[in-house]
């Protein structure tokens, strides 16, 4: 079974956000929920100032604090072959302990019924524009008109209120040998997911070629997301 890790090449990353939007598109995530996200920082003072950017997502830690703290039995967060940390909506009791335990802030809680926007029945101009719900009724889709049915093959297509949700490394795509959608939509070729046990995989090759960092490695969580190179090119 592959030993999946993700490698993000910050030198190639252009900070464009396509991964974030792509993830929302693929996973039907509601407003304010970001399975793929970013951190950024501006340092220094003008004119010696630097803007640095880093895409983020669930690190699918081998020593996952979220699994450790999940109080239900069997746990709602669990590891699967390949190394991903997945989540069961069915078992989740919405206690949010995992959300607090995650040092990376990548677990999200749905306080309300998701996609309230698309459930709205109001119209702007009576008779000539539609309500969001009318669009969905006309176009099809589930709750949202551009709903992606692929997501529901391994996880709820849209996760309900009072449950957490998180990145799955697009396990529903991986089973078909497809890259996670964040990687596929990255226009800069900065993201790779592959088998660390395969010496010929992109990820193995990149981790051989470049020094890497993992987020807050000192915590001992053993993240499966590796970052290589720097976002900011050096002055020449």
């Amino acid at each position: 079974m592959p030993n999946y890790v993700m490698v993000i090449d910050l030198h190639r990353c252009t900070g464009c956000g396509a991964c974030i939007i792509g993830c929302k598109n693929e996973n039907n995530t509601p407003e304010g929920v970001f399975w793929a996200h970013h951190v950024y920082e501006t340092t220094g003072t003008f004119p010696d100032v630097k803007y640095t950017y880093m895409p983020t997502l669930c690190n699918h830690c081998d020593n996952a604090p979220c699994i450790d703290v999940c109080p239900v039995d069997p746990k709602a967060l669990f590891k699967v072959e390949g190394g991903m940390t997945l989540h069961s909506v069915e078992k989740c009791i919405g206690c949010r302990v995992c959300e607090n335990a995650c040092p990376y802030g990548v677990i999200y809680f749905n306080e309300e019924e998701p996609h309230g926007f698309w459930r709205d029945t109001s119209v702007l101009i009576e008779g000539v524009t539609a309500s969001p719900q009318e669009v969905v009724e006309r176009v099809g889709g589930t709750v949202i008109p551009y709903y992606n049915p692929d997501r529901e093959t391994t996880y709820e297509g849209i996760r309900p209120a009072n449950k957490v949700e998180k990145c799955t490394f697009c396990d529903h795509r991986l089973v078909y040998g497809l890259q996670p959608y964040c990687n596929e939509v990255c226009p800069s070729g900065a993201r790779f997911l592959g088998d660390l046990d395969d010496p010929n995989s992109d990820v193995s090759r990149l981790l051989d070629q470049y020094p890497y960092k993992r987020p807050q490695e000192e915590l001992g969580t053993e993240p499966r997301v590796y970052y290589i190179r720097e976002y900011n090119p050096k002055p020449k």
Binding site: G17, A18, N25, E31, T42, P74, L124, G127, T153
Partner: protein
């Protein structure tokens, strides 16, 4: 090929088994819900074959070719369609321009096409009063009623012999616009087909036009370049070919060096080796100092520019040079330029003016020279779209001339032409009334003494988009009685938009063809719901990048969400039919003259007209018997399936012997500009000096014909308005049209310095301390022409003395997210155009967006 079919090709299918402690449990993923817990975990040997259950198949759909006109990158796309629904967008990787790259904003097309706030049926106004605060009282009508009313109004113009009082305004478009924009006004008898182009970046074209005779945007050969100096644009964010540059940037940084000139820390500046934060409006000073160093330090291209007869460099600061000591090769006037302008433009002089350290200027000039000719000086709109930006655009682009990088490997190159056929000319469909009307002065005042608008070297041939509002208000040259506009929103996108509110309130009958009820729509008498270009209609666009030009085809690939029509074709057909019913059949005759190239059939309805028109225009691409160049196709169906044509690869140095300028050379002394200015002056019995004065330029005499320094023309005195406004475009803008998409706001912080769900103006913390402003304060920003209210963000990426804000928000119409309160016409965020004066780079006709005004800040 469907996704499922693609998946079936040599891909090993797997399921993921749940791991319980160290053991591996045999639990296949079940369909439709979370993984099922096995009743009893079974330990298995990892090496042992275990029975696996096939996973649930992904949705069966098709990737269908299309294209994106969300910005001027004009990328080829594919849309994933499942059961008639579009659910994903990606690049059409057959394009050689951007290959597999697809920018972040491309995905937002999904939120546009399924936006609930789209206009779903034709509607008419019931409130005769027009104004921002007047509810139009729109009520639905049929297409038939809409077309009847429009035809009636057009016939009234004909009957009164005033067909010129018809105005057609085009915003974004596809190349089928040749029908609605290119032919319909002329056939109806109006000169007024007005494009948006001069609120885009016409002044940028001024630089290459009056140096190398090229009125166009350039391609830049980044695959072969060694050094890139990006100037006043943000290629990985908002400038042209964004998907291509996003795709290529990492490799570029591995291979070459990148420096960025910009008065703010742009996305591209953060991905560059160095940043030159030039003082707004002082771009020409920096360019001239770089040119000075390139000449004084022996760094120019001998091959392209030539050399001194004896090989001794006489370009010494402060000293003039005898012209006959230099043998010029493919350029004209390098010594004249040095003597008149460059000899005194030292880096030390420029440091005072630009705030860029002399040492940095020297370093960048040296790196350019060392890497020449495989270098790019990448001219963007920033230095050009200023009141006095024409000569700055020339100065920046002229560096490519000095470095020999024009039309050269790794340098500034051009694109190929798309081999498309024209629709029949309007000439055969014009009667006396139309001919007389179409011959009148255009409403945008192009060609007036103060608006030379010299596109392609011809005075009065360029558009002055934003001047149309004044033309309407002042009835100069005449009043407008019937206006038709599509895919535009000048009441939002032009500086000083309130002029447009007044102007459109004054037009007695206005038809707007749009997807959304925008600011401009508020003034419409009839609103026609438009198809979305990427999903619901025929259309095509071509663009250059990566050494190629591509041309993509869009076609209806989903069921139209509402009762919409394509304004460029179907609406023309509908109006043509109604005009014919009233005895004026010329427009319908024209439409019927565009037949199916395969069968010769005449179109019988608007949909057939659309398809025949596009087949006609693209016949040289898809028809093997009409083949011209680039990719080959077996026929229409073959091209439709591919969705994109690519030109042959760019060939270098084909222009060096004749650039198409007046002298045939790359002109540092612009004979081409001299001819254009003298023609314009002659048209007005004036001198060139008088023209320059009228156009707010300071240069006199021979300086009019060389790239030279001009102090920036800024509105507002520094004592009252301490900060210079730096306007720029969000990387999420689909021009002004993504402001009703939730993804726009959800990740608005993707623009360096910006915040989610906010519209911030950014100032340097040092200025904030001096002005007593704190991070997060609500403030009013005022310029001499208007005020806006927004939130202040303190950010070190903004130089002291400036205030930086993205354009894109501030809609008071357009939809429930775009506006704070659509019914009350209350804006979300603030529109930069409200504080930008309606001023111009008049030689090109371009609106000035940059270094054009100072502003003051007051807490509210």
């Amino acid at each position: 090929m469907s996704q499922k079919e693609e998946l079936g090709k040599g891909i090993k299918r797997r399921t993921f088994l749940k791991i319980s402690g160290a053991a591996v449990a045999v639990a296949a993923l079940a369909g439709g819900c979370a993984p099922e817990e096995p009743e009893e975990p079974v330990e298995v040997d990892p090496d042992e074959e275990v029975e696996r259950v096939e996973p649930v198949p992904l949705a069966e759909g098709s990737w269908l070719p299309s294209g994106c006109a969300g910005c001027t990158s004009w990328c080829a796309k594919e849309v994933y369609v499942v059961d008639g629904r579009a659910i994903k967008v990606r690049a059409n990787a057959r394009s050689m321009v951007h290959r597999g790259g697809s920018c972040p904003r491309s995905h937002m097309a999904l939120q546009q096409v399924y936006d609930p706030d789209r206009v779903k049926v034709p509607m008419k106004r019931t409130n005769p009063n027009k104004g921002r605060n007047e509810d139009p009282g729109f009520v639905p009508i049929t297409w038939d009623e809409a077309a009847e009313t429009i035809a009636e109004k057009l016939m009234e113009l004909r009957e009164a012999n005033e067909t010129h009082k018809f105005l057609l305004m085009r915003g974004r478009y596809t190349q089928l616009n040749q029908i609605l924009y290119g032919r319909m006004p002329a056939i109806l008898g109006s000169p007024n087909n007005i494009s948006h182009s001069s609120i885009c970046a016409e002044a940028e074209k001024f630089g290459p036009m009056y140096t190398e005779g090229y009125w166009n945007y350039r391609d830049y050969d980044i695959e072969k370049t060694k050094y890139v100096l990006v100037w006043g644009c943000d290629p990985i964010s908002s400038n042209r070919q964004v998907s291509h540059y996003l795709n290529a940037w990492g490799d570029l940084l591995d291979r070459a060096e990148v420096a960025v000139v910009d008065p703010r820390l742009s996305a591209t500046a953060s991905k560059a080796n160095e940043w030159l934060p030039v003082k707004p409006g002082e771009d020409a000073a920096l360019a001239l100092a770089l040119a000075h160093v390139i000449l004084a330090e022996d760094l120019w291209s001998r091959e392209f520019v030539g050399d001194f007869q004896d090989g001794t460099n006489r370009f010494v600061a402060g000293q003039t040079v005898e012209e006959d000591t230099f043998n010029e090769a493919h350029t004209l006037g390098v010594v004249k330029w040095w003597n008149m302008e460059l000899k005194d433009r030292t880096p030390e002089w420029a440091e005072e003016v630009t705030s860029i350290r002399a040492e940095q200027i020297k370093r960048v000039a040296t790196r350019l020279g060392e890497n020449a000719p495989n270098v790019i000086v990448w001219l963007g709109g920033g230095p050009a779209m200023q009141v006095r930006g024409g000569y700055a655009a020339m100065a920046v682009h002229a560096l490519n001339g000095l470095l020999g990088s024009v039309d050269n490997e790794g340098g500034s190159i051009r694109g190929a032409s798309i081999p498309h056929a024209s629709v029949p000319s309007s000439g055969d469909f014009i009667d006396e009334i139309s001919a007389e009307g179409a011959g009148k002065q255009k409403i945008d005042q192009r060609g007036y003494k103060e608006f030379p608008a010299m596109a392609s070297g011809n005075p009065g041939s360029g558009v002055v988009t934003n001047r149309v509002a004044d033309g309407i208000l002042d009835e100069d040259p005449y009043d407008i009685k019937v206006a038709f506009a599509y895919w535009n929103n000048f009441n939002f996108s032009c500086p000083e938009p309130d002029r447009w509110n007044q102007a459109m309130a004054k037009v007695p009958f206005f038809v707007h063809s749009v997807t959304h009820a925008s600011e401009m729509t508020r003034f419409a008498d009839i609103v026609l719901p438009s198809t979305h270009h990427g999903f619901e209609q025929w259309g095509y666009l071509g663009q250059k990048g990566n050494g190629y030009t591509h041309c993509w085809l869009a076609r209806p690939i989903i069921d139209r969400v509402w009762d919409c029509k394509n304004p460029e074709t179907e609406v023309v057909w509908l109006i043509a039919e109604k005009l014919a019913d009233r005895g004026f059949s010329k427009l319908l005759d024209f439409c019927k003259a565009i037949t199916d190239p395969e069968t010769g059939a005449e179109p019988q309805n608007g949909m057939e007209f659309s398809e025949y028109a596009i087949k006609h225009r693209l016949q040289p691409i898809w028809d093997p018997n009409a083949y011209v160049s680039g990719d080959r196709f077996d026929g229409w169906e073959d091209f439709k399936a591919s969705g994109v044509w690519n030109s042959d690869k760019y060939q270098y140095k084909t222009l060096w012997d004749d650039f198409g300028t007046v002298s045939g050379k790359f002109e540092f002394y612009s004979e081409t500009l001299k001819k254009a200015l003298e023609t314009h002056a002659g048209n007005h019995n004036a001198s060139v000096d008088e023209i320059l004065e009228t156009c707010k330029y300071l240069a006199r005499g021979e300086y009019a014909f060389i790239p030279h320094y001009e102090e920036p023309y800024l509105w507002g005195e520094v004592e009252e308005y301490p900060l210079v406004l730096v306007d720029y475009k969000s990387r999420l803008n689909r021009e002004g049209r993504s402001a009703n998409c939730s993804w726009y706001y959800e990740i608005k912080d993707i623009d360096p310095g910006d915040d989610k769900w906010e519209d911030v103006a950014k100032i340097n913390p040092a200025d904030a301390r001096e002005l007593g402003i704190e991070d997060g304060d609500r403030v009013q920003l005022s310029s001499p022409v208007g005020q806006i209210e927004c939130k202040i963000k303190l950010w070190e990426g903004v130089p002291p003395g400036t205030i930086s804000k993205t354009f894109g928000q501030g809609h008071w119409a357009y939809g429930r997210l775009a506006a704070q309160d659509f019914a009350q016409a209350a804006a979300r965020g603030a529109n930069n155009n409200d504080i930008l004066p309606a001023d111009y780079e008049r030689l090109s006709g371009s609106s000035a967006f940059y270094a054009v005004t100072r502003v003051k800040i007051e807490k509210v």
